[in-house]
Structures are given as structure tokens and as C-alpha cells.
């Protein structure tokens, strides 16, 4: 990973083929991706280590991640291929680990449901158990 923030965490991976925005894609009251046609439509991000190739849109993530945490429906971590400042500002504000840059495409190395450990300090992700 190129850049990283936050403490080490473990959790179930959610691997997306598509980018993400909490405003565009997420029901912010349930933590379920509800945008019609999103590749993960119907999936929950709650307590997941979320792998998204890119960040979409908007400013909303800045406040939205903090509110997700307040509602106890936040993900464990965001692992972005390419991200934007809003995702970073929002994740840091909420205290959610966030990273950018992939040495290896997680879509090749991982499947949703695998149990992974994120180490922002070492900038590494380890697969602990396969789904």
C-alpha cells in the first residue's frame, strides 16, 4: 500500500469490482449498498474490511463515516486502489483505518468473506482465513 492511516484491524473482506461513495451508493441508515446496479447492491459494509478500486463523487463522506460509526454500522477499514481527499478526511475524522494503493489487485488475491488483517503501520494486508 502506498499510504495508510489508523490502527491495525481484522475483519471479513468485502471485495468490490466497482468504486464507492456513501452518498451515491449506500443506505446510511442500514449500511447496505442500495444503488440500483452497483456491483455490490444488497451487500452490507458493516464491520467489513472494504476493498474498493476507486472513490466516487462527493463531499458527503467527510461527515458520513463519523455518523456510520455513531450508528455502529461503520466498516472496519477502507482499502482503496485510488482514493480522494474526502474519503481520507472522513475516515480519519471517524477513526476508521484507510489505505490507498495496491501492489496486488485484491480482486485476484481475495474473495469476499476471507478474513484479513490490515496493518497500516507496515502498509500490509494479510489473509488469515479463506472463506
Amino acid at each position: 500500500m502506498r499510504r495508510a492511516f489508523g490502527p491495525a484491524v481484522e475483519g471479513e473482506a468485502l471485495v468490490s469490482e466497482e468504486g464507492f461513495s456513501p452518498r451515491y451508493d449506500l443506505d446510511r441508515w442500514t449500511g447496505v449498498i442500495t444503488r440500483p446496479g452497483h456491483r455490490l447492491e444488497g451487500a452490507s459494509i458493516v464491520d467489513k474490511v472494504c476493498f474498493f478500486p476507486s472513490a466516487k463523487g462527493g463531499i458527503a463522506a467527510g461527515w458520513a463515516f463519523y455518523d456510520l460509526k455513531w450508528k455502529k454500522i461503520a466498516p472496519k477499514a477502507f482499502i482503496f486502489g485510488v482514493t480522494n481527499p474526502v474519503m481520507v478526511q472522513g475516515a480519519i475524522f471517524a477513526g476508521i483505518p484507510i489505505t490507498e494503493g495496491w501492489d496486488l489487485d485484491p480482486r485476484q488475491a481475495l474473495r469476499s468473506g476471507d478474513w484479513v488483517r490490515v496493518e497500516p503501520t507496515n502498509r500490509t494486508i494479510e489473509v488469515l482465513r479463506r472463506a
Binding site: W63, D67, V82, P85
Partner: protein, 413 residues
Amino acid sequence: MDLTPEERGILAGTRGEAAKRALEYQMAVGAFWGARRFVPVTNVHMMGDIEVMGDGGLQWLRSEARLGARCIVPTTTNARCIDFAHCERLGQDAGEAAKERELIACLQGMDVVTTDTCINYQTVYQPHLGERVAWGDTGTVIYANSVFGARSNFESGPAALAAALTGRTPEYGFHLDEHRRGTFTVQLDAALDDLADWGAVGKLVGQAHQNYFAVPVIHGFRRTPTADELKHLGAALASYGSMAMFHFVGVTPEAPSIEAALGGNVVAESVVIAGEDIERVYRGFRLGDGDARLVVFSGPQQSLLEMKRLAALFAGRRVRAGSSCFVTTNSGVLAQARRLGFAQSLEEAGVTILEGVCFYILQNLSAMREAHRWTNMVSNSAKIVNIIGAHRFNTILRRTAECVEIACSGVLR
């Protein structure tokens, strides 16, 4: 990061606990992006409303107020989620409205100027070339960077408020020359006669290059684009592409020529957009069950000249019974539109004008959709067509006059 004596003082608490915490937060964000220093900002524009902040955000804001948080540079607010005059009729939640009022009072207590507009760049503050600002709402940022040549990253609510409290922001991204250079070119070979056409360009370019650091260099257009056209282009590029800057050769200040806009970057890709590409965008929207009962002119809020055009298109016509048509704008534009009679023309046609809000962030929008059994939303704004998906609308982009026709006829083609 290298800190000045003043910044070390803030960290030591000379400006109070709120400013200290704000600077620590900004240092963490700066560290992520490898910022080496802070740069002063002259103006802050922030998003802060109950729909996006939620109870968690409001609670945090209350604690900031208790810590004595106070803006040290002029700070304005983006469009919010409730127009109190229409709150009840729209079926918005009275409890949330009360929280929104508290939130507004809280911000005002910190010396935030609650302008409630996403078109601050057209109506409130126009920074000059090289001026550093900390703006939120992506449409405002891309306009500032591109059209004014000012410098801002996307600064979300907490980041913008932090900049307001400390008077500075970490220097990364679009504050640095290296990120302001064009990364690919786009030749416009289309007429682009309607605002929606400009949004369609933004969709085509943005969707294919979803990257904050992608900077298109647009060229080849044969007339001078208007401010409203650049506004719809920028809003769509920022929405579909998460982009924060474009160059428009011969139009924007850092693009006297293609070469100057590229600043030595080697072009990896050259895109050409022809009239047929724009038509294909319109044809690409699925009409779903054909529901044509919701037409929206919003996202961004309407300028006075957009209000004028809509008033002319709706003159002598009537929104079809059972259909809803919404226009959103800010209080300043609405006051002028009333004085000039544009607002009355729209209201006589049955259009609802909402003030200080944007349609896609309306509190309780999903419930509103369910109550009206709306399935489709039609708009001339590519941004709102893209952004409203989480509320489960099927969305359809159409040109401005066609949107008016759909609102009045109830027929969707």
C-alpha cells in the same frame, strides 16, 4: 510536516482547544497525503446539514461549540436538507427539522455565514488566480480550480471547518503545481446547445476517468462557453469522475494553449466527443416503467439566468396534475427572481421553488419517493442524475426544454 511558530502555538493551545484539535486533525490528513507544510486560506465553504451529519455529527458540533470553536476566515455554508417553509408539505420529519435549526444556530455561533448555497462561486465569493481556499461541495471546488484558477482540494465538512478554525490547510493535491497540469485531452466536436449537453460531456469524460488526480484539457470548442455551461460541466466531471479540475483552452486562466495546460505532461490519451456521443448518452438512460411524474431542476442550485430561462419555458403552461416539478436555488437568487417576476411565472405554472436546499440531499427523500410512488426522476442536471441513486430512483437526463415538456405533458420519451 514543517510547522511555523504560529502553528506550534496553536498546537500548544494558544488559540484554544478547538483550534488545537482542528490542527491535529489536519496534520493527520496532511501526513496521509505527504504534505510538507500548511498554506493559509482566505475563504472556507463547508457542507453541514443534519441529513449528512446525522446525530453523531450534531453531537460533535455541540462539543466543538462548547470548546469555543470560532472561524478566523470568512466561512459560508453549502446547500442544506430542509427549506423550513416547505418542510411540512414535503413530509419531512419535524424532529429532524428541529435538529437542523439547532445545527444552523450552532454554526452561526461559530461565526459561520449560513448562505446555504452550492453556487457560492456565482453568487457569494469569486477567488482570484492562485488564491488558496478550502471549499466543500465538489462542484464548487472544480469551479474554483478550473474557472478561477484558485486552489482548493475537496474539503469535506470536518476538513473545511478545521480550515475555518485554523485559517490554513495542508498543502497537497491541487495546491501543488504538479497536480494542476492536464493529464489527458478532450476535443469537443459537438454543438452543446443545452446545459444538459454539458453535463453529458462531464458524464462521458468523468465516468471513463474516475480519478481525483485526472485533469482533462478540453479544447476545440468553437464558441465561448457561459458560466452556467461550465458549472454543469464541472459539476458532472466532479460527480462522475471525482475530478477537481479541468482546463478549457482559451477559456480558463491556466490554459492559454493545450501545451501550457499540459505543462510538460505527456498525453496518455486523447478523447474526441462528437454530437453522436452526446445523443448516445441520452439514449442510454432506461425509462423504467415510464413514470414521468417527477422533474427536478437542481444540483447545482439554479442561477438567476437559469431561473429566467425556466420561467420563459414554463410561461403559460402548467405542470400536469399529479406530477411534481421542483426548482432549487439560494435565497439571493430567489429574491431577485421574485423581484423580476421569474419566480411568479414558475409558481403559476405549478412549479415548487425550494430555497437554500438541493434536491438530492433533502431530508427524508427516500420516504418522499415511497409516499409519491415515484420510480423515475427526470432532470437536466447530469450531476443529480448520477448522485441520487442511493435513494433508489431510476434517473433520466433530458435537455432543459424537454424536461419542461415532460413536466407539463406527463409523457416520457
